[in-house]
Every structure is written in structure tokens, then in C-alpha cells.
Amino acid sequence: MYVAVKGGERAIDAAHDWLAEERRGDLSVPELSIAQIREQMALAVNRVMAEGSLYDPDLAALAIKQARGDLIEAVFLIRAYRTTLPRVGASRPVETAAMAVDRRVSATFKDLPGGQVLGPTFDYTHRLLDFSLMAEGEAPSSSIHEERTGGAPEPVPHVTGLLDRDGLIEQALPDDTPPRDLTREPLELPASRALRLQALARADEGFTLSLAYSTQRGYGRTHAFVGELRIGRVAVEIDLPELGFAVEIGEIELTECETVNQFKGSKTEPPQFTRGYGLVMGQSERKAISMSLVDRALRWQELGEDFIGAPAQDEEFVLSHCDNIQATGFLEHIKLPHYVDFQAELELVRRLRREAMAAQEAAQ
């Protein structure tokens, strides 16, 4: 039960002033600019955009600065801001097949149209601290290898399309049912796959990672291969009612993961691979892979698999606990004044003790 408390204004003001001072830190160290955070902490910015569910690198950088680097607090600031924005409309679904790829790898095919492109990856680094980054003001030493090709870029088709040609994988057939939006209406279970994907796209990275890992360890195993992982930029198109046609309004960076999973067959269908899907704002490949594993695990019913009670199979469990703002809101509220609640419990415990002692005395 919440009961209003009064008082403490001066202490609260003083706490916030001190917070501002601590945020700034040692005044002899130069202050971070928003542009510095945006450019040099880009993956933190990406995470705040993905989980804040609002693509705006400058605002995500501002939120990180204001939150002193607490990314969940930063996500909270972005979620609060987005509620103040009028909704202009929905975009056309983005065409990830037309992505200008920075990175595109497949763990299932080594030779594929468009090639394997590593991009700016941490993979194959030795995970040793690079002390040269501590020597301030030095530009990166090595020169970047570039390969210029004339003409239009080579198309980079989806890997699952290659399997689809031979009927070896389930199809993802085009469909134009407008998806429901969990920012506009309360989540109802069972949820459609579209609603689950929306929830997972903005879900906490750590939670999604752990659930995905649990499926790999046997709690709802789906035997996933990364059919394809791609990172790059796609155009966003919106229909402008004033014009009667769609126009591109900008470009966003996305990470897409398609997993190729254990196959199944039935009396009517020959065995074929199944699929999981992950799509995340920014460069967030750990999250995209995790999302596609969890998406696939949640499809057990649709694919006629057994429910073995694994957390990653349990739609209610996953969807009710994947949002870090809901989670932290409920978790952290228990530190706020609960004096009346607790007073009632205290009274109850005292009464029970009195009764128990009286019963004991009577028995003796």
C-alpha cells in the first residue's frame, strides 16, 4: 500500500545537487560531450536505443551522460521521453535484404552470394587490454584495408532464401496483417509471434542472453545454427498521407540474425529446418542472436514440440519478465517508504507472538 509521505524536500534537493556534482566527477578532468559519447561509446548508445525502443543516437548519448553510465537508468529516461512524442505513423516494413551491410557472416555456408564480410568485429581479437588506448590523443596506428569496386554493390541475399529454394526450410510468407503494438495496448496472452518479437526487440540484453543460453544447455533445446548474421543500414520508408506515396525519411542501423534450427517433419510434410528470428536496433549482435534463439524456443506449440517446462518456452514467463524498465521499477520501488505496510506487519507479528506465548503458558 502506498501512503503519501511529507517532508524531506530540502534533503531531496541536496541529494540531487550532490548527484549532479558526482556525475561531473573530478573537475580537472575534461567533461564528456554528447558527441563523444555518441561516437566513442557507440555500442552503449546502441543498447540504450534498442532497449529504450527509440532510435536517436544523440538522445541515447544524452541519457547515458545524465544516468552516469547506468544503462538501465538511461533506457528509463528514453522510455519516458518517447511517451511525450506524437506518433506520426508506422513505417513500411524495412527491407533487410536490401541492407547496406557492414558485416554479414554465416555459420552454415562458407561460400554464399555476397560473400562473408567480417566488418568491425571483436571476433578474432585476443581480448587483451590495449594499453595504447590509454595513451591519449593518438590516432589509430594501422591503416584500414579498403577494396573499391566500381558500379552498384553486389546484392546480398538472405541465406535462408537459399535453403528455401530447395524447400529445405520453413517459409516466412509475406503477410500484411497490421501488427498489434504493445506500447499502445496491454499485452494479452497468448501473444502473436509479432507481439513476442516486439517485446524481445526491446527486452533486456542480459535476460535475453541468459534465456538463450539456457536453451543451448538443454532447457528447451532447439539446436540453433546462425544461418546468417548481418549488420548494416536500411532505409526507412513512410507513407505520407499528404502525398499518397511512400518516401524515405532516413536510414537506421540494424542487426539481424536468422537461425536455422532442428528440423521436423509430419505426416503431410517432409522433414525441413525451422527458423528463429532476431532484429535489433543498432549494432547489437549478442542481443540479435539471443532474440532469435528465444523466438524459436517460444514457437514450440506452433511447431508441435513438447513443452518441457523450460523457462525459454514459457511465453508468460518470458514476456512478463524481459522488460528491464518494468522489472527495475517493481524491484526498486521496495526501497521507497513502506512505513504503513510495515507497521501493519509489525503489529501482526507482535500479536501472533503474544498469542503463541499465552498458549505456551497455558499448556505448562
Binding site: M49, A50, S53, L54, Y55, D56, L85, P86, R87, V88, G89, A90, S91, R92, P93, V94, T96, A100, R103, K110, G115, Q116, V117, L118, T121, E146, R148, T149, G161, A172, L173, P174, D175, T177, P178, P179, T183, R193, A194, L197, Q198, A201, R202, A235, V236, I238, E242, L243, F245, A246, V247, I249, G250, I252, L254, E256, R275, Y277, L279, M281
Partner: protein, 148 residues
């Protein structure tokens, strides 16, 4: 008076204007013609949709910030813009350029502004694609001992 414009041409220039870096557009269009605001620049959000499996049913991925603006030139030509981000100057310039591109002055604007934006965008894309191409890899599978 506005000319009848091919929707495809208009789509194309609106896209170039929306994707232009705001500071660059401001540098290329320092002086703005006289105009009325039909809709003063307004910040909002667009819900970006993806497709399940890349090709299937749409789902809501998350929002992006946009700024939209509509203007009317002195000759009555109307221009619209909806551009990514929260830069009101960007939206106003894009709407003005959209209107001006529909008038007889369109060719001059194309030469002075749009052509430069197109070329710079192509350069940016090519530079990024060249870096990506530099990280293209050929994987070879090794013959394993037990297979020999």
C-alpha cells in the same frame, strides 16, 4: 504555379533531402525564400516495422524520432518533409526544397543543392562499402585427421 511532377522524381529528391546531414543542407541552403508555415516543424515518432524472418508478417521493432514540416511558397506551391531526427531547421529546409523543386526554379536547386547531396551520399556509401569489402573473408574447411 507548380508543375506536374512525377511521383518517382519527387520521392527521390525527398529521400535525398531527408537523408542529408542537417549541417550540410544548412550550408548549401543558407537563404530561405519567403514562405508560410502550413505545419511548423514538429517533432514526433515513427514506429519502425520489421518482417518476421526478413520476409514474413510485419512486427513493431521500435520507434525513431522524426521531424515533419509543411510550407507554402509565395506562389502557392506546397512542400512537405518528414525527416529523421529532431532538427527543425532540417525539416523546414527539406520542405522548402521540396516546394522549390516543383517550381521553375527546380533545375537551379537541383544543380546547386541536390546534385551535391547525391554525390556526397554516394561517396559516403562507397567508402563504407569499400571498408566492408576489405574485411571479406574466404573460409576453407580443413581435412580432419579421422577423415584421412
Amino acid at each position: 504555379m507548380s508543375h506536374q511532377t512525377e511521383p518517382n522524381l519527387r520521392r527521390d529528391w525527398m529521400s535525398v533531402l531527408a537523408k542529408a546531414p542537417p549541417a550540410r543542407l544548412a550550408a548549401l541552403m543558407p537563404d530561405l525564400p519567403a514562405h508560410d508555415d502550413l505545419r511548423a516543424p514538429e517533432i514526433g515518432a515513427v514506429m519502425v516495422q520489421g518482417r518476421t524472418g526478413g520476409t514474413g508478417a510485419p512486427f513493431n521493432l521500435g520507434e525513431m524520432t522524426v521531424t515533419r514540416c509543411s510550407v507554402r511558397l509565395a506562389d502557392g506551391t506546397v512542400g512537405h518533409a518528414c525527416v529523421q531526427g529532431r532538427d527543425k531547421g532540417h525539416a523546414r529546409r527539406a520542405a522548402l526544397a521540396d516546394a522549390m523543386m516543383q517550381t521553375a526554379g527546380g533545375a537551379a536547386l537541383e544543380a546547386a543543392v541536390l546534385a551535391a547531396l547525391r554525390a556526397e551520399e554516394a561517396t559516403r556509401r562507397a567508402a563504407r562499402a569499400a571498408k566492408a569489402a576489405g574485411t571479406r573473408v574466404e573460409f576453407f574447411t580443413m581435412v580432419r585427421g579421422e577423415d584421412q
